[in-house]
């Protein structure tokens, strides 16, 4: 569907280096990365809105690298909605149809369908300046989809929204994707969004693709330290593998199966690290005694750091667990985790 070959973009402050990507037809593809990683530049390059230094972009096997944006069969939705302030909601939605040869009946049918799907009925004659964030984003989606693009590019569509609207737009995106054959490419810095919406995706950092594949797979099996951190595997350390063990700062950690003797990394999700006052009698193969070095309030959860010899493990626990265990800094504590919770790369 979309194939990007050795793409290089140089915008001074933003760089993309040797990007290779492929996106399947009708996929929901998510580009994930921190702010400033070059995600938006990448979709703008697909849209033809930024100059490409070298490399090629194919949409439906057609080389679009040198085509102007209006000839690529794409639509773009920006984080700040970018609605035309001098046009009503209806005129915004219909805007793209001025430039596409569509019969009157077809126009009306598409409009009706999108107005229904995105619940725009009561907004049609208002101006963008009077709408809420969620409403603006719904209008922007309708405007982008009415031209039936091959690809819909979404630039952080949820980031600027209040939590309530975010849920609503997330659901809308899911339904819209399910009911159309448009390929969605979404940019986000939030891995939770990617996980809830995306089918496949890529993690991008400093203008380079770190990993791509199915979102589930990126989530479970990150292949670099950066990706591990990004998908929430806060416990990531350099390790030396000997037999079935991984040695981290002199600590022998059981990984459950025999591995090649080499150096690498192990990563464990903080929610997989269990804390207890006494050594746990369980099937968990790794049980260590350590000392709490910090307890941090993360809102719904607390993040507890435990030093075991030279290594530090982070565990996520609920507030009630924190109170039950009477955790405080400097206190002695036992940690335990399963061998299967360890991701090796």
């Amino acid at each position: 569907m979309i194939r990007i070959e050795n793409l290089n973009v140089d915008l001074g402050e933003f760089l993309l280096r040797d990007i290779r990507l492929s996106v399947e037809e009708n996929d929901f593809f998510v580009l994930i990365g921190p702010t400033g990683a070059g995600k938006t530049v990448l979709i703008e390059a697909v849209a033809g809105l930024v100059p490409v230094k070298s490399g090629r972009i194919f949409i439906r096997d057609r080389d679009v690298t040198r085509l102007p944006p209006e000839k690529r069969g794409i639509s773009i939705v920006y984080q700040d909605y970018a609605l035309f302030p001098h046009l009503t909601v209806l005129d915004n939605v219909l805007y793209g149809l001025h430039f596409h040869h569509v019969s009157r009946e077809e126009k009306e049918a598409r409009k009706k369908e999108l107005v229904r799907q995105l619940n725009l009925g009561r907004l049609l004659h208002r101006y963008p300046g009077t709408l809420s964030g969620g409403e603006l984003q719904r209008v922007a989606l309708a405007r982008a989809l009415i031209i039936h693009p091959d690809v819909l590019l979404l630039d952080e569509p949820l980031s600027a929204l209040d939590p309530g609207f975010r849920e609503e737009i997330r659901d809308s995106l899911r339904t819209l994707h399910r009911h159309s054959d448009v390929t969605f490419i979404m940019v986000t810095h939030n891995f939770a969004e990617a996980l809830s919406l995306g089918r496949s995706g890529a993690v991008i950092n400093n203008g380079v693709i770190e990993q791509q594949g199915e979102i589930e797979d990126i989530f479970r099996r990150p292949r670099s330290r950066f990706v591990a951190g990004f998908v929430g595997m806060k416990n990531c350390s350099r390790a030396e593998f000997r037999g079935t063990k991984a040695v981290v700062d002199g600590l022998d950690i059981e990984t459950g199966r025999k591995r090649e003797n080499r150096e690498g990394y192990i990563a464990i999700r903080p929610e997989d690290v269990v804390l207890s006052r006494k050594p746990l009698q369980s099937s968990m193969r790794n049980v260590f005694q350590g000392k709490i070095t910090s307890v941090q309030d993360r809102g719904f959860f607390f993040e507890v750091s435990v030093a075991v010899r030279g290594a530090v493990f982070v565990s996520l626990i609920t507030k009630s667990a924190l109170l039950d265990l009477e955790l405080r800094k400097e206190a002695g504590i036992w940690i335990a985790f399963k061998a299967t919770a360890i991701h090796v790369f």
Binding site: A82, H86, F99, A144
Partner: protein, 261 residues
């Protein structure tokens, strides 16, 4: 702000001085001529012709500035290139050059000693003492005001809106006419009015190029020279009234822009 501080009183009194400085002469000018004088003046065919000439040459100047200046203003608002600062300075040049010098400079290329003058003569275009000449200098002095206002207007339109428009299938031209131009419209109009107002008030450059046909400021000067203050005031009254109307339109446009949206 603490009202008792000395600095507060300095600000207030300097403000009063400035207001008086601007308003006293204006009020005197506008109230000095008697109604009968004003009535007689406005019926005077020469006066009417001069004011009308002022209005339509200035209008033409603003129109030319609009047609020629809009693309450049748009380019300056969007493109980044080396030497952009130089181009912007060149555009501002007519503001700082003394007005009679503008007239002399234009005359110096319009004569037979310069190839431009020879080309113009070939085409049968006369600058010296003609309406064409008046429009030429008025455009010269008015252009910076139009281009700067239009450029600011274009700059206030987010490029993102243009990008979205392009992605929805609009070409660059359609995007400009459907999105950018309407959104910058108010600034463009304000720029046009500013250019027009600047042109109406021009004297120094015009008097070098064309004493006749006579525009209103030249006529005021002539009446003052020939008959004295009393006879120049009524013509000045009508010209000022015209400028005030333009000024009012401009203020309405800019104020509305600040409050609206």
């Amino acid at each position: 702000m603490r009202t008792r501080e000395l600095f507060f009183w300095v600000m207030i009194s300097s403000g009063i001085v400035i207001m008086a400085f601007i308003l006293l002469p204006m009020i005197q000018l506008m109230t000095a001529p008697s109604f009968s004088m004003l009535g007689k003046t406005i019926k005077d065919a020469d006066v009417l012709r001069a004011i009308w000439l002022s209005v339509y040459t200035s209008g033409l100047a603003a129109l030319i500035a609009f047609v020629l200046g809009t693309p450049l203003a748009y380019l300056l608002s969007r493109a980044k290139f080396r030497g952009k600062g130089i181009i912007e300075s060149v555009i501002d040049l007519p503001i700082v050059i003394p007005h009679p010098v503008v007239g002399i400079a234009i005359l110096s290329i319009a004569g037979r000693n310069h190839w431009v003058g020879r080309v113009l003569a070939e085409l049968g275009i006369r600058i010296m003492g003609s309406v064409t000449g008046i429009v030429t200098v008025l455009t010269f002095v008015g252009l910076p005001f139009y281009i700067n206002a239009a450029r600011e207007g274009f700059e206030s339109v987010p490029p993102r809106l243009e990008r979205v428009s392009r992605s929805l299938g609009a070409s660059m031209v359609s995007t400009f006419f459907r999105i950018t131009f309407p959104l910058a419209g108010r600034s463009i109009l304000a720029g046009g009015v500013m250019c027009l107002a600047r042109a109406v008030s021009e004297f120094g450059a015009v008097v070098i190029i064309a004493y006749h046909p006579m525009i209103a400021p030249v006529m005021i000067y002539e009446r003052f020279e020939a008959y004295g203050l009393k006879y120049s005031q009524p013509v000045a009254f009508w010209l000022v009234l015209l400028c005030l109307v333009l000024f009012l339109v401009l203020r309405m446009l800019t104020l509305y822009r600040k409050r609206g949206r």
